[in-house]
Amino acid sequence: MFSYYLQLGLRSLRRNPVLTGLMVVAIGFGVAASMTTYSVFRATSRNPIPQKSDVLYNVQVDNFGPDNTEKGEPPPALSYLDATALQRAHKAKRQAITYPIGISIIPEDPSHLPMQEGGYATGADFFPMFDVPFVQGGPWTADDDEKHASVAVISTSLNNKLFDGGQSVGKQVNVDGRLFRIVGVIEDWAPQPLFFDVPNTGGFDEGASLYVPFNRAVDLKMPNNGNNNCPKDPGEGWDTYLHSECIWLSLWTEIPTAADARAYREYLTGYAAEQQRSGRFAWAPNVRLRDVMDWLTVQKVVPPESTVSLIVSLGFLVICLVNTIGLLLAKFMRRAPEIGVRRALGASRKDIYAQFLIEAGTIGVAGGLLGLLLTGLGILGVGLVFPERIARLATVDPMLVLMTLVVAIVASVVAAFYPTWRASLVQPAWQLKSN
């Protein structure tokens, strides 16, 4: 019977090409708008490290106090004092302090211009903790951290620029006039959202091309290339700065079990209480230990534009559906005589349901195909609407294609329920009576 209904549906759709076209266009536009904005929303709200997101925790300790914080939320970064104290205590399986450094790489060949690159100063644990994929060598060691060694891990892109992609482990890289020995080359690793550095990047940025040990960077007074917030004037000089309450460092930890996480939280509270006793904090302990997804939520990495445009697009789809319900109602009720005859000739209500829902389904398929085309165009045009760093994340993949089609078909079949129900109510006696 399916093919019979399909045939009837197609025939009926061909009968009113304008009405059919209108419904297909409405479904197509509604679905395309929703899927395009959804692709952006999906990209901005996705889990950047699904395999470990629930064992990685960002640490926050409130050293600003209630007067300098909002709604009791501790500042989004740590002071040098707190970050290094917590790092030294070594209470988690892995931990790494991180801050962004703005650096220039000076190529060996003097005829090449220096290059500005993004970098991070961090610890040895950073790489295994975040599953950073290496293509050559490996991370530096805890020993390198201890010895404040001049070592570096570079990205494949930088390796291509400096060494034409060749073996570079053991070679030197000149960072602002200082030499670092390369111990490893990683893939161009930039999980999106860039969860480990949300406060400085907003969550979306290209990855870094150079990583150096935190201890060495501090020795070299490599300036912080990210946000710096001070509750009061820190005074002058690098050492004064390090001992100030200015916040500029993030501390990430890997804690494998929930019980350990509870213990770590207690430890953090204890640490803050200690600071309160010593007179440094004039307030009760206010600490946070948040896993990746909680952190991304609290930091609001999904741009409001993304959510607002998704909501508006969904509203748009709803209107397109209401529109389609109206048009289908008109179309189906215009065929009340036919329905009456079919019922008289033995069609059950179920038969009428099947016939009209399949007809609506074919509109959905057509709308879905149009929607797919428009979604493709929409995603090409996302760059007009969203900043490039976000727009480039919106892509068409098989999942999106499938969703577009399914949403279109489901939407049109849902839209057809009421008109079909009305059609099935047409009495078989209708035509006899009307004469």
Binding site: L19, S313, V322, I325
Partner: protein
């Protein structure tokens, strides 16, 4: 036109009536809010910086190498730029309007840690050519002299003896309008005297609540990272834009001028600063346009169906003496009544949606002008959309009355 018989007829077409009204209501809710967002964003995009933005070129620069003394090279660079043909004036700074990054601090009238008294102000470093280069107008006091321009170190607090502030800062600190010559404090223990007041200049950010609070300080910051701001002679912007990188590399190659953000005209700066707003405005305009089209098409479709369904009835009316204009106005009135119901519901939805976005996305509340405009747009859209089907109805011949279905 009698309204009661129309309402009676509509009761017999409940589903269709409700669907059209609902569609109009939802469209109104979305279009009002979308157009309001467009308006709001366009307002932002067109916000004035207080600068004369024509003929300005900016350069983002980072010195490389192991030296820690950048001031001499900075001075060489500024000199080199100033002597370029086509350059009117130039200076080196940490930030400028629409840069979307910079410094700010709280400035207060007394040197005490009193809370709530300070006024948040952005800090722009510059020299005697800053005002001319930005094209801002001094409304009181004087400009800096070259002798007043000092250097300061990386970890030092910027607090020079002389500052120029915007009128907004001056008025907030000294509501009586006597700010000129007064001493204020940017950092503890470091007094600064207000020697000049400029009319208007905005902060580097686009999303703060102290847009017009700016202080210009006669300072050279010993930092690897800075901006050169250049005013060119009229018609020379292009030439300077193209040759400035080479001029700088000519004084030293040990620097980085990033590909995308290195050398930019101020038009590029502005366009980049507001790309999200412009994008939102474009998206919302497209959504509103397509929505209105689809709603109009929906009304045409359903109205045509009704007209088709009622041909015989229309024929009878015509046979009983109804004029064409009577039939036409019947359908126009009918649509108007449905649309009226729709917009009433739509206004409630629009305000609700705006309230929701206000609480969740820190958006502004919908202005009533936009609701009114939306209502007017949808009512006239409805009338326009029903016009063709209604014309068709008015052309139904009285003979239809005699035909069987």
């Amino acid at each position: 036109m009698q309204i009661r018989p129309i309402l009676a007829a509509l009761r017999r077409h409940k589903a269709g009536t409700i669907l059209i009204a609902l569609q109009i209501a939802l469209t109104l809710a979305i279009v009002c809010n979308a157009l309001f967002i467009v308006h709001d964003r366009i307002d932002r995009v067109n916000r004035l910086t207080g600068m004369d933005e024509r003929n300005v070129v900016t350069v983002q620069n980072r010195y490389v190498g192991s030296t820690t003394q950048f001031i001499p090279q900075m001075k060489t660079d500024v000199q080199a730029i100033r002597s370029m043909p086509g350059v009117e004036s130039a200076y080196v700074t940490n930030a400028f309007p629409l840069r979307r990054g910079g410094w700010s601090t709280s400035v207060q009238r007394t040197d005490q840690d009193r809370k709530g008294e300070g006024v948040q102000s952005a800090l722009y470093f510059g020299d005697e050519q800053t005002l001319k280069t930005l094209g801002v107008r001094l409304i009181a006091g004087r400009n800096f002299t070259p002798a007043e321009v000092r250097s300061f170190e990386l970890q030092e607090s910027p607090a020079p003896a002389q500052v120029i502030v915007t009128k907004a800062v001056a008025d907030k600190l000294f509501p009586d309008g006597d700010a000129l010559g007064k001493v204020v404090y940017y950092y503890k223990g470091k007094p600064s005297t207000i020697i000049g007041i400029v009319d208007k200049l905005t902060v580097p950010w686009i999303d703060v609540d102290f847009m017009d609070n700016v202080t210009i300080m006669p300072l050279l910051h010993n930092s690897t990272y800075q901006f050169f701001v250049v005013r060119t002679k009229p018609g020379q912007q292009d030439a300077v834009f193209k040759s400035i990188a080479n001029t700088l590399y000519g004084t030293s190659r040990m620097r980085v001028l990033p590909d995308k953000t290195g050398v930019r005209t101020f038009e590029m700066v502005r366009s980049k600063a507001y790309e999200a707003d412009r994008g939102m405005a474009i998206l919302m305009t497209i959504v509103s346009g397509v929505l209105l089209l689809i709603t109009a098409a929906g009304i045409v479709g359903l109205s045509s169906f009704w007209v088709g369904q009622r041909r015989k009835q229309i024929g009878v009316r015509r046979a009983l003496g109804a004029k064409r204009s009577d039939i036409l106005s019947y359908f126009l009135t009918e649509n108007f009544l449905i649309a009226l119901g729709g917009v009433v519901l739509g206004v409630i939805l629009a305000v609700g949606m705006s309230q929701w976005m206000f609480t969740h996305f820190e958006m502004k509340r919908l202005s009533l002008t936009y609701v009114a405009a939306g209502v007017a747009i949808l009512l006239s859209l409805g009338q326009l959309a029903v016009l063709a089907p209604a014309m068709k109805a008015s052309r139904v011949s009285p003979v239809e009355a005699t035909r069987s279905v």
